[in-house]
């Protein structure tokens, strides 16, 4: 007998992970359109190439594993990867850069670990860091950050893109597809550090005065990459700690924060996620203590 699961009509809001990915893609459409409007047709060609190679990479990986490619593509994770990855590329990136990044991200960082849901490092962050380290000559600031053409009268294009990213992330936050704590804690930490650095004179720490409208790419990292539930911890406490781990290096300013550093910091935080998950297990109902980190 085939196994049948009663889909509950009792839970008031049935969530669906494929729908979340669709919302992610939808949310990325507006920023992509804005970037496309501020640059030449090269970006669109690049975007198309990345999308095709990302979908092909996922399909080939599925075929190699003997899974039907349709089932793998149906979760839209390759598409959302491609959209985000195209946004992070620099103006001088040649056509093969995005392609190789997509193939690296999806083959090595995602499918080698077993595909969507199983990977331990965010594929987009891995792909970006890979292109940045492998081909440093083509890796300037991303197209989002360099958009200069004025679309509206006095609003800079970067601010518009940032706004589009924020609104794109909004449905995900409302659907609880991503936890509000991660962007929340990051923003709070950055704002606090900014306030602190202003109040101390002379500034002891070289606080980064990050203005996100000037760097929409950072916003992309915080709203879409760091919040990926697959690579972030699972409990509320764990997520707050994770966000703090991402925000503190940015705030302290041991490094100048640009897109590369932000992606690298996210990857490092992903590295610590399993440990955070072990440390932040909640106390089981009716038990005196929290479970041991050592799981015994």
């Amino acid at each position: 007998m085939p196994l049948v699961t009663p889909w509950s009509r009792f839970v008031q809001r049935q969530a669906d992970s494929a729908a979340w990915q669709r919302w992610t893609c939808l949310g990325l459409l507006a920023p992509t359109a804005l970037v496309a409007a501020t640059t030449d047709a090269g970006f669109l060609a690049n975007l198309l190439l990345i999308i095709v190679s990302a979908l092909a990479a996922d399909a080939i990986a599925a075929w190699l594993r003997g899974i039907s490619p349709g089932a793998v593509l149906a979760d839209y994770s390759a598409l959302s990867f491609a959209l985000m990855f195209a946004l992070t590329l620099a103006a001088e990136a040649p056509w093969w850069l995005g392609m190789s990044g997509a193939v690296f991200g999806l083959f090595i960082a995602k499918q080698a670990f077993g595909g969507h849901g199983e990977y331990l490092f965010q594929p987009l962050a891995a792909a970006y860091v890979f292109t940045r380290l492998g081909f440093p000559e083509f890796s300037g600031p991303s197209l989002m950050d360099t958009a200069t053409a004025a679309l509206c009268a006095d609003i800079p294009a970067t601010a518009l893109i940032a706004l589009a990213l924020l609104t794109g992330a909004l449905p995900l936050l409302i659907l609880k597809a991503v936890d509000w704590r991660i962007p929340g804690v990051v923003f709070l930490t950055l704002i606090l550090s900014l306030a602190l650095s202003r109040s101390i004179d002379p500034p002891l720490w070289a606080f980064n005065t990050i203005i996100f409208t000037a760097q929409p790419s950072l916003l992309l990292v915080i709203l879409f990459v760091a919040t990926d539930p697959v690579t972030s911890p699972v409990t509320a406490r764990g997520r707050s700690l994770f966000a703090l781990l991402i925000a503190l290096p940015m705030a302290v300013g041991a490094w100048t924060v640009d897109l590369t550093t932000a992606m690298a910091i996210v990857l490092l935080a992903n590295f610590l996620t399993p440990l955070i998950d072990l440390m932040c297990r909640p106390r089981i109902f009716g038990h005196q203590n929290r479970g041991s980190v050592f799981l015994d």
């Binding site: 670990f113 077993g114 199983e118 590369t260 610590l272 072990l278």
Partner: protein, 193 residues
């Protein structure tokens, strides 16, 4: 010394200059890796202590003992001897107090795995011209980085055991891919902006 410099030194040694991932010293620790967090914690603590003690003793011996005598060629021999002796001392203590570690044949092997890092750091610091106290602080940062790396990697490995990865990638390949991704991210932190 202002706290700022101290924090920077510690952070740089622990992360951006991570002894295993960036300097590729003691990479053998990867292969001796266990899935047991408890054991990883023990090994991490002992490695960190060993690194501190070896540097604290070995660095002055080399810098103010062997180098003025022109015996630089003996650096490695002396440090290896010192490291091995201290490791032995630790192993004897651990085995007499923690019998589970003895059964696992573990501690000696794992400490030997991170010995490259321990000796490597002592050697580096003896050749650099930084003052003694700064060297000790750097050693502290390095040992913290080593310990954190060992512990986090064990937790990562526990997760790796449970994922539904393609057969060809199970075990060591994924371990190396993960280590590579972490190393890449640390290298990216060192890139000029």
């Amino acid at each position: 010394m202002p706290f700022d410099d101290f924090a920077r030194l510690i952070l740089a040694q622990a992360f951006t200059n991570n002894i295993v991932l960036i300097q590729l010293l003691g990479v053998s620790a990867f292969f001796a890796f266990s899935r047991d967090l408890r054991q990883a914690l023990e090994v991490a603590v002992f490695s960190a202590l060993l690194l501190l003690v070896t540097t604290a003793i070995g660095m002055p011996l080399l810098r103010w003992g062997l180098h003025p005598l022109g015996l630089r060629s003996l650096d490695l021999v002396l440090l290896a001897g010192l490291g091995a002796g201290l490791t032995r001392f630790f192993v004897v203590w651990v085995e007499s107090h923690l019998p589970l570690s003895r059964r696992r044949h573990g501690v000696g092997l794992y400490l030997a795995g991170s010995n490259g890092a321990i000796i490597g750091f002592a050697l580096q610091s003896s050749r650099a011209e930084s003052p003694y106290v700064l060297t000790l602080i750097a050693a502290l940062g390095t040992s913290l980085g080593l310990a954190l790396f060992l512990i986090a990697f064990t937790a990562l490995r526990q997760r790796l055991d449970k994922i539904d990865a393609p057969t060809a990638f199970r075990g060591a390949p994924l371990l190396l891919i993960s280590a590579g991704l972490v190393a890449m991210s640390l290298m990216a932190l060192r890139l000029p902006a």
